[in-house]
Structures are given as C-alpha cells and as structure tokens.
Symmetry: C2
Subunit: 378 residues, 2 copies
C-alpha cells in the first residue's frame, strides 16, 4: 500500500520511456500492456494463467460490468479484484467507447448519454459522475473519465464539439472523483480531438489544467490508418507532462505498440491477443501465424522454442492446428495465453532495451523478426 | 518403465477394491476416474490443470482421433502423449461406441464396420485389427478391443448376436495386439450381453479364456435405469478374475461411481464432469449445483470451502453464476476443472475408505452430503 498514486520515470531513450507506477494493488512496470478482462474475465483464462504471462495489470470494462452483473452487485461481493480473483492492479475504462460501439438508441446530451443495453434492451444512463461512481464501486486502481469517442474520419467541427464536451466531462469527472477521496487511487484524463493536431494539443493543455494522475490518448484505433494514429501520438505526447503515465487506449498490434512506445506512450490495452487467439491466430517473434492454415498440420515445431512462456515452447503447431480445426476450447485458451505472453515479452523486451539505451536496435530487430510470419504483422 | 502391465490388489472392503496398475507411462491408483480427452484434449483444460485435479490417466477416443487428425499423423508427431502434452498413462477406447452413436450409414459385417464420418462424410472402415493398429499408432498404454455396443432395451437375440460378434472380435483383437508385442502395454476385453445376466456371464467366461490384462464392462450407460446397470455390474464382477482391473465404460454420475465401486469396479471414464461443466453444472460434496440458477447471483460463498482444489475454494458462486450467464469460456473452464477435481476427490475418498475398511460409512456419508445440492445427485 502507498498513500498516493505515483509514477516514476527511470530512463528515456529517444522518446521511449522506462518507468513504473504504484497503485493500491501493486506496482506496474512501464511500458505496460494490459490484457482486457471485458466482463470480469480475460476471456478463457484463469487469473493465474494471466499472471504467468507476465501481466501486472488488467483492464475491466465499465460498460459490460454495468450491464451485467451490475457495479452495485460487484461492490457487494467485495469489488472487482475479489470478484474475478485478480489481486493485482485494475484499470477500468469509463464505458464511453462501448456505449458508442455496442449499444443502440443512444442519446447524447450535455448531461449524460442514455442508451439501450445490447444484451436485453434495458435503458441505462451514463453521466461523468455515474461513470466515476461505477468505477469506485468496482474498486478500480485507475479510473478513466467519461469521454465522447468518434469514429474516424470525422468532420473538424464534430471532432471539436466532441473534444470540448469531453473536456467539460473531464472536469465533472475530476470533481466527482475528488469527492470520494480514495487514497492512492488514480483518475486519468483522455485527450480527444480526432486526427486534428491543434485540437489534440488544446485538449491536452486543458486536461493538464484540470490535473490528472495520468493522461490517455483516446479516440484512436477507430478505423484510421496506422500512420495517422502515430502522427497524432507523436504530436500529442510532447504536450503531456513527463512525470505522468501516458496511455494509448485500445491499441493495438505488436507493431502499433512498438511504434507508440517509440513516440512516448507508456500503457496499452487491446482485445487483439485474446480475440485473435480465439480465431486461430498466434502472435510470435516471427509475426502473426494463422494456425488454421493447412501447412501447419504436420509441423512438429512449437511456435517459438525460445519463448519465455512454456505454452509457446511446448505445443506443436500441428497440435494447435488440430485444436483450431476441431474448434476445441483449448485452442482458444492456449492461443490467448500464448498471445498475451508474447505481448508481455514484447513489452519486457522494450523495457530492457530502453534501460540499455538500445531501443532503436530492438525496434529494428523486432521488425525484422516479424517478417518471417504468415502475414505481415503490421 | 516396467516390463509387463501389472495390477496389484492391495485391499478389499466388501466387494470394493483398492489397488493400482503400472503402465509404461506410470502408475494409476484404483479405483480411478479417467477424464475424457475426446479429440486429443480434455475439453477446455491444459494438461497441467488436468494433472492438478489429481487425475493419473486420461482416455482418448479412437473414433474422433481416427477422423481428425488421423492416427498416422499423430504417430508421425510422436504419439498421443507427445501430441497432447500428457506424459501420464492414456487408455484409448476402440471407437466402436462412437461409430454406433455418432456416425451415419453404418454397415456392420463379420469383418468390420464401415461408416461415414459425422464431420465430412468420408467413408471409413474399422475392423478389430485396424482398431488395434490405430491404438498402437496413438501409443495408448491401455487399448480396448473393438466391440458392438447396443442401445438398451434390446431383444435377447440381438444382445446375444452382438455379444458373440464382440467375442469373435475380442479374439481377433488379441491376436492383432500380440503381433505387435509392445512390452508393458495392455489390452482389455469388453464384456457384453446387454441386461441379460447369463449372456454377460458367458461373455466374461469366454473373454477370460482368451486372456486380457484387464476386463471392461461395456454396453451400459446407454439409456437403462441405474438399478439395471448396477444389477448387471454386480452379477458380472464376480465372474471376472480378482487379479485384473475392471473398467465400467462410459460411467457415470458420482452416485454411479460410488455404487459401482461398491460392486467391485476399479476404473471409470465419463464426459459428464466436463460436459455438465460447460452447461453451468457443478459437482460438489453437496450434490449437483446449477449455477445458472438466479439464487446464486448474490452468493459470495465458494462452491466448497473445504475442497482440496483451489478453484472450488476460491471463486464465489456469484462469480461462477455471472460467467455462466455471460456465456464466458472461463465458466466452462472453471466448472470443468472443479468437476473433474470433485470426481478425483471422490475417488481418493473411496480409496482411503477402502484402505481403512470403512467404505460402507464413506458411502453413507457421501450420499447424505449430496442431498444438500440443487437437484438429487443420482
């Protein structure tokens, strides 16, 4: 336990940063990748398996938990850490992104967003204050402000309107968070502004004026090409304070992670390692490997005999191919495990490289390795 | 490694038996329950998880592996132990039961059964010799003879015909098995005869004349009431040699296991702990618990705080209920784990009770415990 949320920056290498932050449930080394525990579970994996991949923090989705089983019930059951048996740090999103992408009949006002549950049609209201309340009920170590997230491309006046609404919601979120005074817990603000750099920089300045324990770059990975995303990242991170963690939300491929760390990002979350794992795809040092491909049917080699994770060293490609073709649950379980472990190994590699001042070499070597897979790991 | 398959009977208590057998991949304590690894995987579970439940042997299905990925491919990949990363003993069935229950366009002759794969319509032929060959290719520690398995009730002349065909196939299976001479590996004969006791006893006598390392009671758990099944078991086991293991195929509920051990059975396999686990059902000391039931939604208690398995002690009923309602893979994974662990704990309890000469008390106490669950654990 510590009194306050704290971030320590140990080393920089170019714009890449090596640090850690301390939460009530423990320390997280950065750059960090957070597996996504959508509905109170990283899909298919026990918490022990998730920990053994090297993950030090997971993400929980406010939207999903709000609908089912409900934050009041999770709180009555001891909070999300106890509920899902994950004793390490948890970051929760605010629900805004899923309201936009999953629910129907949304109505957005200055006050709140109302929407219909995609599960059973029940109407819900989510305001900045309720999003903070829900995340407090869940017991999140790090909460996120409610924001409005647009799909890209979007018109500039739309991006500006959404960014400014998100700023007003940031201020209300901060006030609601302060009123609860949970020592050591953190609230992150979210930079918006679409792909418009001046809007992004304005958003960053205004958020810093309000003051947060960390800053996220939101509204990316929503359909734009990688170069657009990276351009926004590299023009935004210099506007953020060096002594606070920076979180690129919902990103991404291994390549996205490597390039975003090179541009000063410290934290990531993405469903890709688990979702692709459920669809027969493996992330490896050699790029993405599609295990449903018939050429793996006779291949006795493991995915990566030098992997730090036993599952990637042990099971043959032929066996994984068999599990995928037979639609066996274990295929989803093993590939989700292997993929999260690869993401964690990639982050550990980046952390070590930054410490050693050789991040540029690590990036070159890693990119070269990926070119050996089934498809370009862009 | 040992030179020959060997079974040791340590203790009896009434008709209940405490023993062990030794295979090329290790020792198995009896009475034993074998989790079913249908298609080269105990559904949803890594081999480490299966071992941690206490399982010392798993079953593989010849029918499923014959269709996909094919026994020649499994052999080329090092055999089933290597393929599925399970270093302990494996028993394989002969495929006969699944041919009858899953495939279409079966044609049964004296020579063999031909059938159409339920996966892709390919025609296959399975003879007693091919069944032995497949199981040798898989590398099974214990192989089963090909037999003909009828659904019950059936007419006496049908049961007699199938039993006699199974005996002729037993003899051919034995010859095919001997011609391969795999030191320490075992072949079990299968007693048939439906619910007709004289047919069963004739079948047992003839099989003993052929000579096997162990004897199975087949053709049960195919629709008959429990009392019919137990009657056949108790009239059959006395006809089997005391110095060989006795295996009741495809059985059953915890109650079936308890009652069959009381009647001299040493080995079991069943998909019930995994299949029911995938459908939200938990097996516990308190009987079966249906976790989809709304009354568990707020219940912070674990399934069994005194369980030897951490999953049964750790996760709340409310969390398991949530996973089941949200159709999360982890629900299937945790309940399959918990159920196999309960089956293993039940077997361990029976073994300890037989050793201590208090099997009757154990049976009474166990039956009393089950009456506390959601539904009678019959």
């Amino acid at each position: 336990m510590t009194d306050a949320f704290s971030f320590t920056l140990h080393k920089t290498d170019g714009m890449a940063r090596r640090g850690d932050f301390v939460t009530p449930h423990g320390r997280v080394q950065t750059p960090a990748f957070m597996p996504v525990g959508t509905a109170g579970t990283v899909k298919g994996l026990t918490p022990e398996v998730v920990r053994d991949t090297g993950a030090e923090i997971v993400l929980g989705n406010t939207y999903h938990l709000m609908l089912r089983p409900g934050p009041e019930r999770v709180a009555a059951l001891g909070g999300l850490h106890t509920f899902m048996n994950w004793p390490l740090p948890i970051l929760t999103d605010s629900g805004g992104f899923q309201v936009m992408s999953l629910s129907s009949l949304r109505k957005l006002t200055e006050q709140a967003v109302t929407f219909r549950s995609h599960l059973d049609g029940t109407m819900f209201e989510l305001s900045p204050e309720r999003a903070i309340e829900i995340q407090a009920l869940l017991g999140a170590d790090i909460s996120m402000q409610l924001d409005e997230c647009l799909k890209l491309p979007a018109k500039r006046d739309e991006m500006q309107r959404a960014m400014q609404l998100s700023l007003r919601w940031a201020e209300r979120s901060r006030r609601a968070f302060e009123s609860r005074a949970r020592e050591g817990y953190a609230l992150f603000g979210i930079v918006q502004g679409g792909d418009d750099i001046p809007l992004r920089q304005e958003s960053a300045r205004e958020l810093i004026d309000i003051g947060f324990e960390g800053y996220a770059v939101g509204g990316l990975a929503v359909g734009e090409p990688q170069d657009v995303m990276l351009k926004v990242v590299e023009e935004t991170t210099p506007a953020l304070p060096a002594d606070r963690p920076r979180y690129l939300m919902g990103v991404g491929t291994p390549s996205d992670l490597l390039e975003a760390v090179a541009r000063g990002i410290d934290m990531f979350d993405c469903v890709m390692p688990t979702r692709n794992g459920r669809h027969g795809m493996a992330f490896t040092r050699f790029g993405q490997i599609n295990l449903s491909n018939a050429r793996h049917a006779h291949d006795p080699r493991p995915l990566d005999e030098e992997s730090p994770h036993p599952a990637a060293r042990t099971y043959s490609r032929a066996y994984l191919h068999h599990l995928v073709k037979a639609n066996e649950i274990l295929g989803a379980v093993l590939l989700s495990t292997i993929n999260i472990a690869y993401y964690q190994a990639l982050m550990a590699g980046m952390r070590a490289a930054i410490e050693a001042g050789r991040f540029a070499d690590f990036r070159t070597d890693t990119l070269a390795g990926w070119s050996q897979g089934d498809i370009a790991a862009v």
